[in-house]
Protein backbone atom coordinates (compact mmCIF):
# COMPACT_ATOMS: atom_id res chain seq x y z
CA UNK A 1 0.00 0.00 0.00
CA UNK A 2 1.26 3.47 -0.88
CA UNK A 3 1.91 5.62 2.14
CA UNK A 4 -0.39 8.60 1.99
CA UNK A 5 -0.13 11.56 4.30
CA UNK A 6 -2.98 11.55 6.82
CA UNK A 7 -4.41 14.85 5.62
CA UNK A 8 -4.63 13.59 2.07
CA UNK A 9 -6.36 10.48 3.24
CA UNK A 10 -8.86 12.59 5.14
CA UNK A 11 -9.50 14.51 1.96
CA UNK A 12 -10.00 11.23 0.15
CA UNK A 13 -12.46 10.11 2.77
CA UNK A 14 -14.13 13.49 2.55
CA UNK A 15 -14.39 13.21 -1.23
CA UNK A 16 -15.71 9.70 -0.96
CA UNK A 17 -18.41 10.82 1.43
CA UNK A 18 -19.31 14.00 -0.42
CA UNK A 19 -19.21 12.20 -3.76
CA UNK A 20 -22.17 10.21 -2.62
CA UNK A 21 -24.07 13.34 -1.65
CA UNK A 22 -24.86 14.51 -5.15
CA UNK A 23 -28.22 12.89 -5.55
CA UNK A 24 -30.29 10.71 -3.29
CA UNK A 25 -27.56 9.33 -1.12
CA UNK A 26 -27.76 6.78 1.61
CA UNK A 27 -26.94 8.66 4.80
CA UNK A 28 -26.60 5.65 7.06
CA UNK A 29 -24.38 3.74 4.66
CA UNK A 30 -22.26 6.84 3.96
CA UNK A 31 -21.71 7.36 7.68
CA UNK A 32 -20.90 3.70 8.17
CA UNK A 33 -18.18 4.05 5.51
CA UNK A 34 -16.95 7.25 7.12
CA UNK A 35 -16.65 5.47 10.48
CA UNK A 36 -14.73 2.64 8.83
CA UNK A 37 -12.35 5.25 7.38
CA UNK A 38 -12.02 6.77 10.82
CA UNK A 39 -10.78 3.45 12.17
CA UNK A 40 -7.98 3.41 9.59
CA UNK A 41 -7.05 7.06 9.81
CA UNK A 42 -6.97 7.32 13.57
CA UNK A 43 -5.75 3.79 14.19
CA UNK A 44 -8.51 2.98 16.69
CA UNK A 45 -10.63 -0.15 17.09
CA UNK A 46 -14.10 1.31 16.60
CA UNK A 47 -15.71 4.59 15.59
CA UNK A 48 -19.36 5.55 16.05
CA UNK A 49 -21.48 8.57 15.20
CA UNK A 50 -24.27 9.71 17.51
CA UNK A 51 -26.94 12.32 16.96
CA UNK A 52 -29.06 14.06 19.59
CA UNK A 53 -32.82 13.51 19.61
CA UNK A 54 -35.27 16.19 20.68
CA UNK A 55 -34.76 15.38 24.37
CA UNK A 56 -31.02 15.76 24.03
CA UNK A 57 -30.43 12.03 24.33
CA UNK A 58 -27.86 10.69 21.92
CA UNK A 59 -28.82 7.96 19.50
CA UNK A 60 -26.45 5.87 17.44
CA UNK A 61 -26.58 6.74 13.78
CA UNK A 62 -23.77 4.57 12.43
CA UNK A 63 -20.68 2.69 13.52
CA UNK A 64 -17.56 1.33 11.87
CA UNK A 65 -18.70 -2.14 12.82
CA UNK A 66 -22.45 -2.64 12.69
CA UNK A 67 -22.45 -5.69 14.92
CA UNK A 68 -24.92 -5.35 17.74
CA UNK A 69 -22.25 -5.38 20.45
CA UNK A 70 -20.54 -2.32 19.03
CA UNK A 71 -23.81 -0.48 18.36
CA UNK A 72 -24.90 -1.13 21.92
CA UNK A 73 -21.63 0.17 23.38
CA UNK A 74 -22.19 3.46 21.62
CA UNK A 75 -25.89 3.27 22.48
CA UNK A 76 -24.96 3.06 26.16
CA UNK A 77 -23.54 6.55 25.85
CA UNK A 78 -26.96 8.08 25.26
CA UNK A 79 -26.76 9.80 28.62
CA UNK A 80 -23.40 8.93 30.15
CA UNK A 81 -20.00 8.44 28.62
CA UNK A 82 -17.45 10.40 26.64
CA UNK A 83 -19.84 11.00 23.70
CA UNK A 84 -22.55 12.39 25.98
CA UNK A 85 -20.04 14.64 27.78
CA UNK A 86 -18.54 15.90 24.57
CA UNK A 87 -21.97 16.56 23.07
CA UNK A 88 -23.08 18.51 26.16
CA UNK A 89 -19.91 20.53 26.57
CA UNK A 90 -19.31 21.03 22.87
CA UNK A 91 -15.64 20.26 23.56
CA UNK A 92 -13.36 17.42 22.57
CA UNK A 93 -12.83 14.77 25.22
CA UNK A 94 -9.82 12.69 24.28
CA UNK A 95 -7.54 10.06 25.78
CA UNK A 96 -10.08 9.03 28.38
CA UNK A 97 -9.06 5.87 30.19
CA UNK A 98 -11.91 3.51 30.92
CA UNK A 99 -10.30 1.96 33.98
CA UNK A 100 -10.53 3.36 37.49
CA UNK A 101 -10.38 5.99 38.75
CA UNK A 102 -11.45 8.27 35.86
CA UNK A 103 -13.63 6.04 33.76
CA UNK A 104 -15.47 4.42 36.61
CA UNK A 105 -16.10 7.68 38.44
CA UNK A 106 -17.55 9.63 35.54
CA UNK A 107 -19.42 6.98 33.58
CA UNK A 108 -19.47 3.78 35.62
CA UNK A 109 -21.92 1.75 33.53
CA UNK A 110 -20.40 2.61 30.18
CA UNK A 111 -16.83 2.13 31.41
CA UNK A 112 -17.62 -1.27 32.86
CA UNK A 113 -19.35 -2.56 29.74
CA UNK A 114 -16.64 -1.14 27.49
CA UNK A 115 -13.92 -2.82 29.56
CA UNK A 116 -15.80 -6.10 29.42
CA UNK A 117 -15.87 -5.76 25.65
CA UNK A 118 -12.10 -5.28 25.69
CA UNK A 119 -11.77 -1.52 25.27
CA UNK A 120 -9.35 0.58 27.29
CA UNK A 121 -9.48 4.08 25.82
CA UNK A 122 -12.21 6.38 24.52
CA UNK A 123 -12.25 9.66 22.62
CA UNK A 124 -15.18 11.84 21.68
CA UNK A 125 -15.61 14.99 19.62
CA UNK A 126 -18.78 17.02 19.21
CA UNK A 127 -20.65 17.34 15.91
CA UNK A 128 -20.94 21.10 15.61
CA UNK A 129 -23.47 23.01 13.59
CA UNK A 130 -22.82 26.73 13.86
CA UNK A 131 -23.09 27.57 17.55
CA UNK A 132 -24.72 24.37 18.67
CA UNK A 133 -23.80 20.78 19.17
CA UNK A 134 -25.98 18.20 17.39
CA UNK A 135 -24.21 14.99 18.36
CA UNK A 136 -20.81 13.40 18.78
CA UNK A 137 -18.34 11.13 17.08
CA UNK A 138 -16.78 8.58 19.42
CA UNK A 139 -13.72 6.36 19.17
CA UNK A 140 -12.89 3.27 21.19
CA UNK A 141 -9.56 1.51 21.32
CA UNK A 142 -8.65 -1.89 22.65
CA UNK A 143 -5.42 -0.69 24.29
CA UNK A 144 -3.93 2.53 25.54
CA UNK A 145 -4.22 5.17 22.83
CA UNK A 146 -3.27 8.81 22.56
CA UNK A 147 -4.92 11.15 20.15
CA UNK A 148 -2.31 13.84 19.51
CA UNK A 149 -3.22 17.33 18.26
CA UNK A 150 -3.02 16.12 14.67
CA UNK A 151 -5.29 13.20 15.51
CA UNK A 152 -7.75 15.60 17.09
CA UNK A 153 -7.72 17.67 13.89
CA UNK A 154 -8.42 14.56 11.84
CA UNK A 155 -11.23 13.66 14.21
CA UNK A 156 -12.73 17.12 13.83
CA UNK A 157 -12.64 16.77 10.05
CA UNK A 158 -14.50 13.48 10.31
CA UNK A 159 -17.02 15.13 12.62
CA UNK A 160 -17.51 17.95 10.11
CA UNK A 161 -18.02 15.50 7.26
CA UNK A 162 -20.59 13.61 9.32
CA UNK A 163 -22.44 16.86 10.10
CA UNK A 164 -22.39 17.82 6.43
CA UNK A 165 -23.72 14.42 5.47
CA UNK A 166 -26.67 14.75 7.87
CA UNK A 167 -27.42 18.18 6.41
CA UNK A 168 -27.18 16.91 2.85
CA UNK A 169 -30.10 14.56 3.13
CA UNK A 170 -32.72 15.25 0.59
CA UNK A 171 -35.71 16.54 2.48
CA UNK A 172 -38.68 18.06 0.74
CA UNK A 173 -39.22 20.62 3.45
CA UNK A 174 -38.62 24.24 2.67
CA UNK A 175 -38.17 25.56 6.16
CA UNK A 176 -36.70 24.42 9.47
CA UNK A 177 -34.45 22.24 7.36
CA UNK A 178 -31.60 21.50 9.74
CA UNK A 179 -33.76 20.23 12.57
CA UNK A 180 -35.90 18.25 10.16
CA UNK A 181 -32.78 16.61 8.75
CA UNK A 182 -31.55 15.57 12.18
CA UNK A 183 -34.98 14.11 12.91
CA UNK A 184 -35.13 12.27 9.59
CA UNK A 185 -31.70 10.74 10.21
CA UNK A 186 -32.77 9.38 13.58
CA UNK A 187 -35.96 7.89 12.17
CA UNK A 188 -33.98 6.21 9.37
CA UNK A 189 -31.73 4.51 11.88
CA UNK A 190 -34.67 3.22 13.91
CA UNK A 191 -36.45 1.89 10.83
CA UNK A 192 -33.32 -0.09 9.97
CA UNK A 193 -33.22 -1.66 13.44
CA UNK A 194 -36.90 -2.62 13.18
CA UNK A 195 -36.33 -4.21 9.78
CA UNK A 196 -33.36 -6.15 11.16
CA UNK A 197 -35.72 -7.66 13.74
CA UNK A 198 -38.32 -8.54 11.13
CA UNK A 199 -35.74 -10.27 8.93
CA UNK A 200 -34.01 -12.05 11.81
CA UNK A 201 -37.32 -13.50 12.93
CA UNK A 202 -38.41 -14.53 9.42
CA UNK A 203 -35.13 -16.29 8.79
CA UNK A 204 -34.37 -17.40 12.34
CA UNK A 205 -30.96 -15.75 12.09
CA UNK A 206 -29.21 -13.11 14.13
CA UNK A 207 -29.80 -9.40 13.66
CA UNK A 208 -26.25 -8.94 12.39
CA UNK A 209 -26.83 -11.33 9.49
CA UNK A 210 -30.07 -9.48 8.82
CA UNK A 211 -28.16 -6.21 8.53
CA UNK A 212 -25.66 -7.73 6.12
CA UNK A 213 -28.56 -8.86 3.92
CA UNK A 214 -30.19 -5.42 4.07
CA UNK A 215 -26.98 -3.69 3.14
CA UNK A 216 -26.15 -6.20 0.43
CA UNK A 217 -29.53 -5.66 -1.19
CA UNK A 218 -29.34 -1.87 -0.88
CA UNK A 219 -25.89 -1.75 -2.50
CA UNK A 220 -26.78 -4.20 -5.30
CA UNK A 221 -29.88 -2.22 -6.20
CA UNK A 222 -28.57 1.29 -5.53
CA UNK A 223 -31.25 1.91 -2.94
CA UNK A 224 -31.03 3.54 0.44
CA UNK A 225 -30.82 1.27 3.44
CA UNK A 226 -33.72 3.02 5.15
CA UNK A 227 -35.90 2.68 2.04
CA UNK A 228 -35.18 -1.04 1.81
CA UNK A 229 -35.98 -1.33 5.50
CA UNK A 230 -39.31 0.48 5.04
CA UNK A 231 -40.15 -1.84 2.15
CA UNK A 232 -39.54 -4.88 4.34
CA UNK A 233 -41.66 -3.51 7.17
CA UNK A 234 -44.51 -2.38 4.92
CA UNK A 235 -44.46 -5.67 3.06
CA UNK A 236 -43.86 -4.00 -0.32
CA UNK A 237 -40.52 -5.80 -0.52
CA UNK A 238 -40.59 -9.53 0.19
CA UNK A 239 -38.07 -10.85 2.66
CA UNK A 240 -37.09 -13.51 0.10
CA UNK A 241 -35.80 -10.79 -2.26
CA UNK A 242 -33.00 -10.10 0.21
CA UNK A 243 -31.68 -13.61 0.60
Amino acid sequence: MIAVAPQERVLQAFGEAVGTLIDDFDLIDALHRLCARGVELLDVTAVGIMLAGPHGDLQVLAASDERTGVLELFGLQSEEGPCAESYRSGEALVNAGLAAPDGTARYPLFAERARQAGYATAHALPLRLRQRSIGAIGMLHAGPHTLDPEGVRLGRTLADVATLAVLQQHTIEQGNVERAQVQAALVSRTVIEQAKGVLAEHWTTGVDEAFDALRGYARRHGERLADVARGIIDGTLGTEALR
Partner: protein, 244 residues
Protein backbone atom coordinates in the same frame (compact mmCIF):
# COMPACT_ATOMS: atom_id res chain seq x y z
CA UNK B 1 -31.53 21.57 22.58
CA UNK B 2 -33.52 22.98 25.46
CA UNK B 3 -37.15 23.26 26.34
CA UNK B 4 -38.63 26.68 26.85
CA UNK B 5 -40.18 27.32 30.25
CA UNK B 6 -43.59 27.63 28.62
CA UNK B 7 -43.21 24.27 26.88
CA UNK B 8 -42.01 22.72 30.13
CA UNK B 9 -45.34 23.83 31.63
CA UNK B 10 -47.25 22.21 28.77
CA UNK B 11 -45.30 18.97 29.24
CA UNK B 12 -46.23 18.94 32.92
CA UNK B 13 -49.86 18.60 31.92
CA UNK B 14 -49.37 15.46 29.84
CA UNK B 15 -50.80 12.40 31.42
CA UNK B 16 -51.42 8.80 30.48
CA UNK B 17 -54.89 8.37 29.06
CA UNK B 18 -57.56 5.81 29.58
CA UNK B 19 -59.78 7.33 26.91
CA UNK B 20 -58.74 9.41 23.98
CA UNK B 21 -59.62 12.69 25.68
CA UNK B 22 -57.53 14.39 28.25
CA UNK B 23 -54.10 13.37 26.99
CA UNK B 24 -52.93 16.95 27.27
CA UNK B 25 -54.26 19.05 30.10
CA UNK B 26 -53.13 22.36 28.66
CA UNK B 27 -55.57 24.20 26.48
CA UNK B 28 -54.56 24.10 22.82
CA UNK B 29 -54.65 27.86 22.40
CA UNK B 30 -51.91 28.49 24.93
CA UNK B 31 -49.88 25.64 23.46
CA UNK B 32 -50.20 27.27 20.03
CA UNK B 33 -48.97 30.54 21.51
CA UNK B 34 -45.90 28.83 22.93
CA UNK B 35 -45.12 27.31 19.55
CA UNK B 36 -45.66 30.58 17.71
CA UNK B 37 -48.57 29.42 15.55
CA UNK B 38 -52.30 30.11 15.35
CA UNK B 39 -53.59 26.64 16.09
CA UNK B 40 -52.62 23.07 16.99
CA UNK B 41 -54.34 19.72 16.61
CA UNK B 42 -53.49 16.20 17.68
CA UNK B 43 -54.96 13.17 15.94
CA UNK B 44 -54.21 9.62 16.93
CA UNK B 45 -54.10 6.70 14.54
CA UNK B 46 -56.44 3.91 15.53
CA UNK B 47 -55.66 0.25 14.98
CA UNK B 48 -57.72 0.20 11.78
CA UNK B 49 -55.58 2.97 10.34
CA UNK B 50 -58.07 5.82 10.63
CA UNK B 51 -57.31 9.00 12.50
CA UNK B 52 -59.17 10.37 15.47
CA UNK B 53 -58.79 13.98 16.52
CA UNK B 54 -58.34 14.11 20.28
CA UNK B 55 -57.18 17.65 21.00
CA UNK B 56 -57.38 20.80 18.90
CA UNK B 57 -57.68 24.57 18.94
CA UNK B 58 -61.08 25.96 18.07
CA UNK B 59 -61.69 26.98 14.49
CA UNK B 60 -59.21 26.49 11.67
CA UNK B 61 -57.21 23.65 13.20
CA UNK B 62 -60.34 21.54 13.67
CA UNK B 63 -61.45 22.39 10.14
CA UNK B 64 -58.01 21.43 8.78
CA UNK B 65 -58.19 18.02 10.46
CA UNK B 66 -61.75 17.40 9.23
CA UNK B 67 -60.90 18.37 5.68
CA UNK B 68 -57.83 16.17 5.47
CA UNK B 69 -59.51 13.09 6.79
CA UNK B 70 -62.60 13.67 4.64
CA UNK B 71 -60.61 14.33 1.48
CA UNK B 72 -57.90 11.77 2.18
CA UNK B 73 -55.13 14.19 1.21
CA UNK B 74 -53.00 16.72 2.98
CA UNK B 75 -49.91 17.13 5.12
CA UNK B 76 -51.03 14.62 7.79
CA UNK B 77 -51.74 11.97 5.20
CA UNK B 78 -48.30 12.56 3.67
CA UNK B 79 -46.58 12.54 7.06
CA UNK B 80 -48.13 9.18 7.97
CA UNK B 81 -47.34 7.65 4.58
CA UNK B 82 -43.75 8.80 4.45
CA UNK B 83 -43.05 8.55 8.14
CA UNK B 84 -41.44 11.98 8.14
CA UNK B 85 -42.09 15.56 9.09
CA UNK B 86 -44.03 17.65 6.62
CA UNK B 87 -43.05 21.31 6.86
CA UNK B 88 -44.83 23.65 4.47
CA UNK B 89 -44.09 27.21 5.53
CA UNK B 90 -45.76 28.76 2.49
CA UNK B 91 -48.80 27.03 1.06
CA UNK B 92 -49.24 29.70 -1.61
CA UNK B 93 -46.05 28.51 -3.27
CA UNK B 94 -46.99 24.85 -3.48
CA UNK B 95 -47.84 23.35 -6.86
CA UNK B 96 -51.61 22.99 -7.15
CA UNK B 97 -51.36 19.26 -7.73
CA UNK B 98 -49.73 18.66 -4.36
CA UNK B 99 -53.17 18.51 -2.69
CA UNK B 100 -55.54 19.47 -5.50
CA UNK B 101 -58.74 19.54 -3.47
CA UNK B 102 -57.37 20.59 -0.11
CA UNK B 103 -55.19 23.54 -1.15
CA UNK B 104 -58.07 25.75 -2.41
CA UNK B 105 -59.97 25.00 0.81
CA UNK B 106 -56.97 26.05 2.93
CA UNK B 107 -56.53 29.19 0.85
CA UNK B 108 -60.19 30.02 1.47
CA UNK B 109 -59.68 29.52 5.20
CA UNK B 110 -56.63 31.76 5.07
CA UNK B 111 -54.17 29.14 6.35
CA UNK B 112 -50.72 30.06 5.08
CA UNK B 113 -48.41 27.48 6.66
CA UNK B 114 -48.74 23.95 8.06
CA UNK B 115 -46.30 21.84 10.05
CA UNK B 116 -46.97 18.15 10.70
CA UNK B 117 -45.03 16.23 13.32
CA UNK B 118 -45.75 12.50 13.22
CA UNK B 119 -45.49 10.67 16.57
CA UNK B 120 -42.90 8.22 15.29
CA UNK B 121 -40.77 5.41 16.56
CA UNK B 122 -39.10 4.28 13.36
CA UNK B 123 -41.87 2.91 11.17
CA UNK B 124 -44.38 3.02 14.02
CA UNK B 125 -46.67 6.06 13.79
CA UNK B 126 -48.98 6.69 16.77
CA UNK B 127 -50.51 9.93 15.53
CA UNK B 128 -49.83 13.39 14.18
CA UNK B 129 -49.39 16.80 15.76
CA UNK B 130 -50.33 19.54 13.29
CA UNK B 131 -49.57 23.22 13.67
CA UNK B 132 -51.06 25.87 11.39
CA UNK B 133 -50.58 29.58 10.99
CA UNK B 134 -52.12 32.28 8.81
CA UNK B 135 -48.80 34.00 8.16
CA UNK B 136 -46.35 32.17 5.90
CA UNK B 137 -42.83 31.43 7.13
CA UNK B 138 -40.91 28.75 8.98
CA UNK B 139 -41.17 28.10 12.70
CA UNK B 140 -38.61 29.78 14.89
CA UNK B 141 -35.76 27.51 15.99
CA UNK B 142 -37.18 27.54 19.51
CA UNK B 143 -40.66 26.74 18.20
CA UNK B 144 -39.29 23.85 16.15
CA UNK B 145 -37.39 22.48 19.16
CA UNK B 146 -40.47 22.77 21.34
CA UNK B 147 -42.66 21.06 18.73
CA UNK B 148 -40.17 18.17 18.43
CA UNK B 149 -39.97 17.84 22.19
CA UNK B 150 -43.76 17.87 22.56
CA UNK B 151 -44.01 15.25 19.81
CA UNK B 152 -41.48 13.03 21.56
CA UNK B 153 -43.23 13.44 24.89
CA UNK B 154 -46.65 12.61 23.39
CA UNK B 155 -45.20 9.52 21.72
CA UNK B 156 -43.75 8.36 25.02
CA UNK B 157 -47.03 8.94 26.88
CA UNK B 158 -48.98 6.99 24.28
CA UNK B 159 -46.52 4.11 24.40
CA UNK B 160 -46.82 4.20 28.13
CA UNK B 161 -50.34 2.91 27.54
CA UNK B 162 -51.70 4.48 30.70
CA UNK B 163 -49.93 1.87 32.78
CA UNK B 164 -47.67 4.04 34.87
CA UNK B 165 -50.08 5.99 37.00
CA UNK B 166 -48.46 9.33 37.45
CA UNK B 167 -44.93 8.48 36.42
CA UNK B 168 -44.81 10.88 33.55
CA UNK B 169 -42.83 9.59 30.64
CA UNK B 170 -42.72 13.17 29.51
CA UNK B 171 -40.41 14.22 32.28
CA UNK B 172 -38.43 11.02 32.30
CA UNK B 173 -35.80 10.70 29.65
CA UNK B 174 -37.15 8.02 27.36
CA UNK B 175 -33.69 7.18 26.10
CA UNK B 176 -34.32 3.45 26.33
CA UNK B 177 -36.76 3.91 23.49
CA UNK B 178 -33.88 4.86 21.26
CA UNK B 179 -31.75 1.80 21.78
CA UNK B 180 -31.20 -0.60 18.92
CA UNK B 181 -32.34 -3.71 20.78
CA UNK B 182 -35.79 -2.23 21.48
CA UNK B 183 -36.41 -1.70 17.78
CA UNK B 184 -34.95 -5.05 16.78
CA UNK B 185 -37.19 -6.76 19.34
CA UNK B 186 -40.19 -4.80 18.04
CA UNK B 187 -39.55 -6.15 14.55
CA UNK B 188 -39.14 -9.70 15.86
CA UNK B 189 -42.31 -9.56 17.98
CA UNK B 190 -44.37 -8.27 15.05
CA UNK B 191 -43.43 -11.41 13.10
CA UNK B 192 -43.79 -13.77 16.08
CA UNK B 193 -47.26 -12.55 16.97
CA UNK B 194 -48.34 -11.57 13.46
CA UNK B 195 -49.19 -8.00 14.49
CA UNK B 196 -48.24 -4.55 13.19
CA UNK B 197 -45.09 -2.92 14.52
CA UNK B 198 -47.06 -0.37 16.53
CA UNK B 199 -48.82 -3.12 18.46
CA UNK B 200 -45.59 -5.07 18.82
CA UNK B 201 -43.96 -2.07 20.48
CA UNK B 202 -46.93 -1.61 22.82
CA UNK B 203 -46.85 -5.28 23.71
CA UNK B 204 -43.14 -5.16 24.48
CA UNK B 205 -43.74 -2.14 26.66
CA UNK B 206 -46.73 -3.70 28.42
CA UNK B 207 -44.73 -6.87 29.11
CA UNK B 208 -41.94 -4.81 30.67
CA UNK B 209 -44.42 -3.06 32.96
CA UNK B 210 -46.20 -6.24 33.90
CA UNK B 211 -42.94 -7.81 34.96
CA UNK B 212 -41.45 -4.67 36.44
CA UNK B 213 -38.42 -4.82 34.19
CA UNK B 214 -36.72 -2.17 32.04
CA UNK B 215 -37.90 -2.33 28.45
CA UNK B 216 -34.32 -2.53 27.21
CA UNK B 217 -33.63 -5.64 29.27
CA UNK B 218 -36.78 -7.36 27.98
CA UNK B 219 -35.85 -6.37 24.43
CA UNK B 220 -32.39 -7.88 24.84
CA UNK B 221 -34.03 -11.14 25.94
CA UNK B 222 -36.15 -11.13 22.80
CA UNK B 223 -33.18 -10.46 20.53
CA UNK B 224 -31.18 -13.21 22.26
CA UNK B 225 -34.22 -15.53 21.87
CA UNK B 226 -34.58 -16.10 25.58
CA UNK B 227 -38.14 -14.79 25.32
CA UNK B 228 -40.71 -14.82 22.56
CA UNK B 229 -44.18 -13.41 22.07
CA UNK B 230 -45.75 -16.20 20.06
CA UNK B 231 -48.19 -16.92 22.87
CA UNK B 232 -48.05 -13.85 25.01
CA UNK B 233 -51.26 -14.23 26.98
CA UNK B 234 -54.38 -12.17 26.28
CA UNK B 235 -54.55 -9.66 23.51
CA UNK B 236 -53.83 -6.15 24.67
CA UNK B 237 -56.44 -3.49 24.12
CA UNK B 238 -56.54 -3.05 20.35
CA UNK B 239 -56.53 0.73 20.60
CA UNK B 240 -53.26 0.30 22.42
CA UNK B 241 -54.15 3.11 24.77
CA UNK B 242 -55.23 1.00 27.71
CA UNK B 243 -53.60 -1.95 29.24
CA UNK B 244 -55.77 -5.06 29.26
Amino acid sequence: MGTSAEMAAVLQTLHPVTGAQGLIGTDPESCARVLGVDGVALSLLTSDGTAEMVWASEGDSRRLEDLQFTLGEGPCVDAVGRGSLVIEPDLSRLPADRWPVLLPELAALGIGAVFCFPLLVGRVCMGILTLQRRAAGPLTDAGMDDALILTGALTAVLLDGGAASDALMAVERPSDLYRAAVHQATGMISVQAGIPLSQALLRLRAYAYRHGRPILEVAEDVVARRLDFRNDGPEPDPSGRKRG
